[in-house]
Subunit: 117 residues, 2 copies
Amino acid sequence: MTSLQSFTSRRTGAIMRLGELEVRPDELQVLAGSRRVGLTTREFQVFLVLAERCDRVVLRPDIYELVWGGRMSRRDRSVDVFVRRVRGKLSIASPGWAYIHTHFGIGYRFSPERIGD
Amino acid sequence: MTSLQSFTSRRTGAIMRLGELEVRPDELQVLAGSRRVGLTTREFQVFLVLAERCDRVVLRPDIYELVWGGRMSRRDRSVDVFVRRVRGKLSIASPGWAYIHTHFGIGYRFSPERIGD
DNA sequence: CCGGCCCGTGAACGAGCGGTTACCAAGTGG
DNA sequence: CCACTTGGTAACCGCTCGTTCACGGGCCGG
């Protein structure tokens, strides 16, 4: 039910504003101010799964299921790696902000927070 | 039947409110107001076993069985230690409240109570 | 065919967690 | 008041989990 389908089929398209970010689901684009973050499709999917659940902790297997579909194998590092890449691009486009927070042994949480620049 | 399984398989997800606390089983999170308590998975399991049985005394071996599964060995102090850790984090996130009460020689009881700040 | 980008995997490393133990304080009964 | 039981606390260590880097295959455009 909740799977990758939700990305392609659902077209809410509602533009979201989160911290400095402007998210355009229709375009698979994220803007920081006027700067384009430049996420790839996979990166954007991971980003969106978290951003749509702002301030909530999303379990690692749930992220996998929502983006890739199917069950996450025990040692699959995909989620980590893409979270890292998203973080990297966000920190470049929007320095002074932290967006994705780690919950050890649980998952990740999207919450825009100002940090020391 | 009631074992660790109940944590992962059961997804009631019903948010509970207890005293100042908001419990989100889906996220393995507890909030005190807007403050995040930050329990680890084990700590959260112990917390939940008690919180779900609010105002009832839960025997020490029962806690062990529900969280760890299997029988508690005579000198196992795991329950004590994790109750202490949960208490510690709760008291930081929600001062002025006492949540977990000791019943000597029996077990623990979860009941939100105001105390001197 | 070639070059660049994207995706996924594997390994190394460090941080954080979980379970144990030892010691001390508190409670209980004679 | 003392001996004994039970709970509280802190420190410790092995190991899981997260982060990061590096590499190779796949895809696409030129």
